[in-house]
Structures are given as structure tokens and as C-alpha cells.
């Protein structure tokens, strides 16, 4: 199962929320150049990730089944 990976990966929501926070910080007057650069660099990273997800992602449909032991199995679902 890919549970672990899913937990570790930041979601689109994370990217957008972080991006928003970075921009708001960057727009403040007390930001030093070094910090501005770091904010920008991180912002570009999240921008890319967000765009990537929005343009290339394919909705994934999976089905959850409970087996006789009560364990959950997740497999791709074909409608």
C-alpha cells in the first residue's frame, strides 16, 4: 500500500496555503533581501508543484473493500 507516501507528500492544499503565506510575508516591508530571496525560491517551488498538479494530475478512482479478516484493501476501480 502507498499509505506512507501519501502522508508524507504535501498536498495541493499545502502548496497553495504555503504559497499564500510566502507571498504575504514577501509583501511586508521588513523583509531583508536574503529572506526575500529564500521566500521567493520556496514560492517558486510551490508554484511549480501546484501548477504541475493542476495540469497533469489525473483523478484517481479506487475502491475500498474489507476482507474476511476485517482488513481494508484499496485497489483501482474501473467504472
Amino acid at each position: 500500500m502507498t499509505r506512507r507516501k501519501a502522508v508524507a507528500e504535501p498536498s495541493l492544499a499545502d502548496d497553495l496555503a504555503r504559497l499564500e503565506a510566502l507571498v504575504r510575508r514577501l509583501e511586508q516591508d521588513d523583509v531583508e533581501l536574503d529572506e526575500a530571496l529564500a521566500l521567493f525560491e520556496e514560492g517558486v517551488k510551490h508554484l511549480r508543484a501546484a501548477r504541475e498538479r493542476l495540469t497533469s494530475a489525473e483523478a484517481r478512482i479506487q475502491q475500498v473493500l474489507e476482507d474476511a479478516n476485517g482488513d481494508l484493501k484499496i485497489s483501482d476501480f474501473s467504472a
Partner: protein, 386 residues
């Protein structure tokens, strides 16, 4: 007042009650119980008096009770009640003091054939859910803006699931639908839906849960009115959307869920944002990000505008500038190293221990010292002042 449990053969005067005392006390006790309740029973006698009031008896296999339906309520009846009819009645326990008799005062009477047990059950479930606070508007949770994982509880071969998949694919590709199949109509449907809902809480990372089914006959939608389904839905740990049937169908699950959608398609539209709108928002952030930086670095805006990917170009330009700056600094540092200075024609005087000789007093007449030049050492001696 308390009624004594037994009387002695010669009761004390202050322990004797009047009939009115007793009927009033019993009446008060009766009226504290069984107010506004639904009763299912069979009519055994039914009489309409000239006054317009209806008097009748309701019974089941073991007991019976006298009932009264006042004229005003009787006028609203849509049926003519008769002995032998199975009915639901809404009413309250009351007491006819003059006769010392218990009566059940009926305000509404409905034949069971008219209404069906399903409706009664619906009213019962609504009442218990309300009593437990599960219908409170304060319970409603906001839905997540960008759900990455959505659990969908519905039939795996129904139109509802197809609609939800279609809408989600179109609007929001950055998501994963976890379908938990459940029988949504017929016997066993409530248990299946409730079990599927409980399963949602065992799945990791779920952001949102949609439960529902497509349109159908009233009876086909009844599973979503079941108490077990409503309670399981209320216990789902993530925000929930209920979408049962068409626009006009409202089920109890709709009232318990955090959000009610008119149809399964509408549920999907509510659940996920439109990617084009979000893309526009992202572009907006990109512009603000580069503006934020240009303000800091004083890079001209128009310079950025010439390039397609403004943000990347801006960053590279900035890093390029920094690199040049560092290279200049490094070059300056190099120029300051002693060897470079010597190359430019300077020499360093040192004594035999290698100490640098800096002042006139370091050179008494006749003192031997070494001169470091760019390619080695020269032995030297200071002369007397001339």
C-alpha cells in the same frame, strides 16, 4: 399532598380527603405523563355525538383506552374512522375529573394504510436525532477547500457514482476518490450504508465524505432515513455531504450531514473547486510573488515582463547578479593576499625569527634582516643614518 397507603378503622380527621382532592391529584399525575405521543392501535368502538365530538376506544391485544377527539380536531380528519380500523393517533393522556376517568385526548388520527409504517418511523427517527442534537446547525462543519482524498459511499454500479466521477474528473483532477460500495436500497440497505460510513473512519488521510444515491421511488430512498445510517453519518470524523435522489427529495441523512447537495453531481461540484478558477488564483499568486521580490531587489518590472516564465527568469537574473558580485569579492580577496602584494613590487622585512619589521626603530644601524620579495628572500643590513 401525599396519599396515605392504608386507612385505619378510625382515620384521623386531618387525614381524610374529599373525592375532588383525589381526582385532582390523580389528574395531575396523569397529565405529567404521555403528552403528545403517537400511538398505534385498532379502533374498537367509534361514536360521533351531536356535539360534534368523537368518542371511541383504542385497543391492542392486551389493553384498551377510552379516547376523545374534540370537534375542532375532528373536522380536520380526512377519513371516516370506524371500528376495526388500524390507526396512528397523536394525543395526550388526560383525566376527566367529574367522572374520575382517564381519557386519551386525540388531536390527529391517521389510518396506517394511509401513511405506512415508514412515515411513522421517519418521524420517530427525526425526533430522536433532534433530541440528541444531531440536527443542530451548530454541528455543521465547513468543507475543505482542496480535498485530496474523498470517500464516496454509494452503490458501485449506480448512476450516482458515475456522476460523481465525471464531475470530479472534469473539475478537479488533483484528487483521489475512495469508493466504498454499499447497497443503497431494499432490505439490508441501512446496515450496509452504516457499515460503509463506519469504514470511512478507518481510512487514512480522507478529507471529505460524500454519501448518497441517484433518484428513485420514495421507498428506494428510505435507507437514508434510517436511524443507524444517520448516526453513522454523524460519527464520520471528516466533513460530510449527503446527496440523495433529486432536488425535491430530502432525507434525514441530508439533515445530519454537514452539507446537503440536491443531487450526486451537485455533491461533487460542492466537494471540489474548479481547476480553472484555482489556476487563475495560482497565476495571481505567481504575479504577486515576483512583484514582492522585485520590490526588494529593485529589478525593473518591465524587464521581467519580457519573459514568459517571469518568476524563474527573475530568480536566475538575481542569482547571476549575486554570482558576479561574489566573483568580484573573491578577486578583491585574492588581491589582498601577501603574495599578490609582493608581485606588485612591495617587499616585507623580517628579522631572523620571522617577525615583521614595521617601524624605523626596528632597524637600528648595522642590523641584519631578511627581505621577502615575490620570488624569495634577500639578506640585508641597515646602514647608519647619513
Amino acid at each position: 399532598m401525599t396519599l396515605p397507603l392504608s386507612f385505619d378503622s378510625a382515620p384521623a380527621v386531618d387525614e381524610v380527603f374529599t373525592v375532588s382532592d383525589v381526582t385532582a391529584e390523580v389528574g395531575r399525575a396523569i397529565q405529567r405523563t404521555a403528552q403528545n405521543i403517537w400511538v398505534r392501535a385498532e379502533i374498537s368502538e367509534y361514536k360521533v355525538y351531536g356535539s360534534g365530538h368523537h368518542y371511541f376506544t383504542l385497543r391492542d391485544a392486551r389493553s384498551q383506552m377510552r379516547c376523545i377527539l374534540w370537534r375542532n380536531d375532528a373536522q380536520r380528519l380526512r377519513v371516516t374512522p370506524a371500528a376495526g380500523m388500524e390507526v396512528f393517533v397523536l394525543g395526550r393522556a388526560s383525566y376527566w375529573e367529574e367522572k374520575g376517568e382517564f381519557r386519551f385526548t386525540v388531536t390527529t388520527l391517521l389510518p396506517t394504510t394511509d401513511l405506512g409504517a415508514a412515515h411513522m418511523e421517519l418521524e420517530r427517527v427525526r425526533a430522536v436525532l433532534k433530541a440528541d442534537g444531531l440536527l443542530d446547525p451548530d454541528r455543521k462543519r465547513p468543507l475543505p477547500r482542496y480535498p485530496a482524498v474523498i470517500a464516496v459511499v454509494t452503490s458501485t454500479d449506480g448512476a450516482a457514482l458515475r456522476d460523481i466521477i465525471t464531475v470530479t474528473r472534469r473539475r478537479w483532477p488533483a484528487t483521489r476518490l475512495l469508493v466504498i460500495g454499499a447497497r443503497v436500497q431494499g432490505e439490508g440497505a441501512p446496515a450496509a450504508i452504516a457499515a460503509a460510513l463506519r469504514l470511512v473512519n478507518r481510512l487514512p488521510d480522507v478529507d471529505l465524505c460524500i454519501v448518497g444515491r441517484g433518484g428513485g421511488a420514495r421507498d428506494d430512498l428510505a435507507g437514508f432515513n434510517a436511524e443507524t445510517v444517520c448516526r453513522a453519518l454523524a460519527a464520520v470524523k471528516v466533513p460530510t455531504i449527503s446527496a440523495v435522489g433529486h432536488e425535491t427529495d430530502i432525507s434525514l441523512s441530508d439533515l445530519v450531514a454537514d452539507h446537503r447537495a440536491a443531487t450526486p453531481s451537485a455533491a461533487a461540484e460542492t466537494a471540489v473547486p474548479d481547476r480553472r478558477e484555482v489556476m487563475r488564483a495560482v497565476q495571481e499568486w505567481a504575479v504577486r510573488l515576483s512583484h514582492g521580490l522585485t520590490r526588494r531587489t529593485r529589478l525593473a518590472d518591465e524587464r521581467m515582463a519580457r519573459f514568459g516564465d517571469r518568476s524563474r527568469v527573475a530568480l536566475e537574473q538575481l542569482l547571476q547578479r549575486r554570482r558576479h558580485h561574489l566573483e568580484r569579492l573573491a578577486a578583491q580577496l585574492d588581491a589582498l593576499s601577501p603574495l599578490k602584494v609582493l608581485e606588485r613590487g612591495f617587499a616585507v622585512a623580517q628579522d631572523s625569527e620571522g617577525r615583521v619589521l614595521r617601524r624605523r626603530t626596528d632597524f637600528p644601524p648595522g642590523r641584519a634582516f631578511r627581505l621577502r620579495v615575490s620570488d624569495g628572500e634577500v639578506h640585508a643590513r641597515s646602514e647608519e643614518e647619513g
